[in-house]
């Protein structure tokens, strides 16, 4: 059975999409069958992985609304081990349209259910809010991975996020666990960044990944080329950082038997 990891933080610009795209790509390079789910109407994970949205009505929106099956909205990527469920601006409407559904917090969980046997990891890129879509993501997820920008206000808002996680654990999804906290956009030359790192580590201990994602020009350029950093510049410090993260991420996982993973049908 696959593990669902929600990449979430209601703050914008903290490296959620970069992390979702590049962690997913790095896991795929490590030959772990991975699915990236774009749950942000901006569709940046979709374009960042190189999938060109063609308005062909096969995105996460159609799956959520029940207009298409989950298998019908799967798409292949440049990576043999990575598929994507793309997002486009249609998704903006979903936040309101889902309100009419019963069990509206469980819709994504229900939609992903039939895909769980086909993937080892399902990575969900959330939008920067704690709205219904993000609640759906946290309800579906086994774990949440929280990117934190290494700056002065890094921990601001984190309290609210952790409170939300607690509430979801108590009500909608008791199994939800914290996968880890990832420091991103680190400028290791500044003492401020080092101070922030120290503070975050003091506060959250081993939840914080040893791996740190640096500020890196190549990393910020890669989305505009529609490529994860591994394909844009495999030797950049950004790529190396995400490889290291994937290594640490995998080391923290209990072993998943490859044999449990069946080939997915319907990806095209």
């Amino acid at each position: 059975m696959g593990k669902i990891i929600s990449i979430a933080n209601q703050k914008g610009g903290v490296g959620k999409t970069t992390t979702a795209v590049n962690l997913a790509a790095s896991l795929a390079i490590a030959e772990r069958k991975t699915l990236l789910v774009d749950l942000d109407p901006q569709g940046n994970a979709t374009s960042g992985i190189g999938y060109e949205s063609d308005d062909n009505q096969r995105s996460i929106y159609q799956a959520l609304l029940g207009l298409a099956t989950p298998q019908e909205v799967l798409h292949q990527t440049d990576f043999a081990y990575l598929d994507i469920i793309p997002a486009n601006p249609d998704l903006i409407g979903a936040e309101v349209e889902l309100l009419q559904f019963e069990r509206r917090e469980f819709i994504l969980a229900d939609r992903l259910m039939p895909l769980l046997g086909s993937y080892q990891y399902i990575i969900i890129d959330c939008s920067p809010s704690l709205g219904l879509l993000t609640i759906n993501s946290l309800t579906a997820a086994h774990t949440i991975l929280i990117p934190l920008q290494s700056e002065y206000y890094a921990m601001e808002g984190l309290g609210q996020l952790l409170h939300t996680v607690n509430r979801i654990q108590e009500t909608l999804n008791p199994r939800l666990d914290i996968e880890g906290i990832l420091l991103t956009m680190m400028d290791q030359r500044t003492t401020l960044a080092r101070q922030v790192e120290k503070e975050v580590r003091q506060h959250f201990g081993s939840l914080v990944y040893e791996s740190i994602i640096p500020r890196n020009v190549r990393l910020s350029e890669s989305p505009s080329h529609g490529k994860p950093i591994a394909l844009y510049d495999v030797s950049s410090t950004g790529a190396q950082a995400y490889f290291q993260l994937a290594d640490e991420f995998l080391r923290r996982q209990p072993n998943v038997m490859k044999a449990e993973i069946a080939p997915v049908k319907g990806a095209q």
Binding site: S26, I29, E31, A230, V234, S235, F243, D247, L250
Partner: protein, 222 residues
Amino acid sequence: MNNLAADKLKRLLIDGSRQLDIHLDPAHQEAFMGYLTALQRWNRAYNLTAIKDGQEIICRHFLDSLSFLPFLSGISGSVLDLGSGAGFPGLPLALLLPAIHFLLVEARQKKTLFLQHVTRLLGLKNVEILRLHLHKGNGSTEFKIPVAALVSRAVSVPDDVFPVAGEVLAPGGLVLLSATASSREKIMEALSLHENLRLEDIKKVTIPFLEQQRYMIRIIRV
């Protein structure tokens, strides 16, 4: 890897290559050590080679790859490394033969990405990496043929090496396969089915610090 261990490994590399009559200048030595570090780092998450230990990598990968070198003297043009894996024998050879163009063909993405990384790391300008499952019929469409030589190692000699060789080599072109005693038998058997390939000779090769005997099989495209 601490400095002491790194020094010891470098010593092993230098001594081993000397036994193969190959001189490594300090830049080569640094390149190999960088390659070793990158391979060990990638191996942790990406499992590129079964051999993980530094000493073993130097003997079974680096020195084993370098044992091809004397057999490529006089070659000009490009050399195809079929099933290059983590770069063996192609990358060590490309490092020491900068005038020859090396074409590394490998089907698995994690390995081609690693090859790109090391090629960049080592500043090699004479290496081209192709992610491709090379088989009879597609070689001529994916890169410029003919190539001057095709190399591959015993552990990874692919089944379709001979059909591919027939296509990508010009008459007189060389196939160079390193084999163990048991893989040698299999190779000879497969070769007998191909009339356009002729066995030139088989030479015993001793890889420094390895007990197992290796054979370098030279085959000519007729």
